[in-house]
Symmetry: C2
Subunit: 117 residues, 2 copies
DNA sequence: GCAAGTACGCACAAATTTGTGCCTATTTGC
DNA sequence: GCAAATAGGCACAAATTTGTGCGTACTTGC
């Protein structure tokens, strides 16, 4: 993993959150795992991103204690992910964010289109 | 501003939120403005980051409609920021995130220290 | 006059995150 | 045998974000 050169800010909850959950797909992954998409294959179909990118995000979520990875040693290898208590504690937040986004979708999409950024 | 090469995902509220508020200092800026730190100087003392970095984040917040910038054309130039309705609509979310971070600070700090990331 | 405070800005460097090229191995189903 | 699905990996390229070097201009207070 990438070794940070700039010290991590921990002084407020916002930073702590951001530091751990900044990944482009992390919140989505947690959400989809929570609704029952436990298999890598299923998750990948949902979020439509390269397998290795998704894996990296999942690995970090595991390392950071939001998700557990269960490997079944069957003939055809099989993996399942499930949320830890910490991961579950994020769900209300994720849902709030998602709702905020949907409630303001009209305005926000306009902004996104206009912005040069 | 930076012209994106990878298309922006808008399909879910999480992405929309992330796209606009991903900046390292954005949520903090919105929060501090909401509690009355309207002047750039005051904000800068709080978040302790280079002026130009902060300005860039503020400019984007203005462009995206979360914050309004008011310039007073006095002899000594003066600037004040204030939240728009859209910016205000984020406050509950920001507070929830902040609380989540603080509530789980013990665990999360451990994770942050251990993680090589 | 001059330090300190206000504010603004370009261009570039550095850090960080995200994505891709190319490889390995096993089993199931045709 | 061979395609497709399972899962894993290294090394690097590309994209994106964050931070810095250096410069401008004005006003107030000593």
């Amino acid at each position: 993993m990438y070794k940070k050169k700039i010290p991590i800010r921990k002084e407020c909850g916002l930073h702590v959150f951001k530091e751990l959950l900044n990944g482009k797909w992390k919140l989505m992954l947690i959400y989809y795992i929570s609704v029952g998409l436990k298999r890598p294959g299923a998750l990948q179909k949902k979020i439509a991103v390269d397998r290795r990118v998704m894996n990296k995000q999942l690995d970090e979520l595991v390392q950071h204690g939001f998700v557990e990875k269960v490997s079944f040693d069957t003939k055809v290898p099989k993996v399942e992910y499930q949320l830890t208590a910490l991961g579950n504690s994020l769900l209300p937040l994720i849902i709030s964010i998602e709702e905020w986004g949907e409630n303001n979708r009209a305005v926000l999409e306009t902004v996104l289109s206009e912005a040069i950024t």
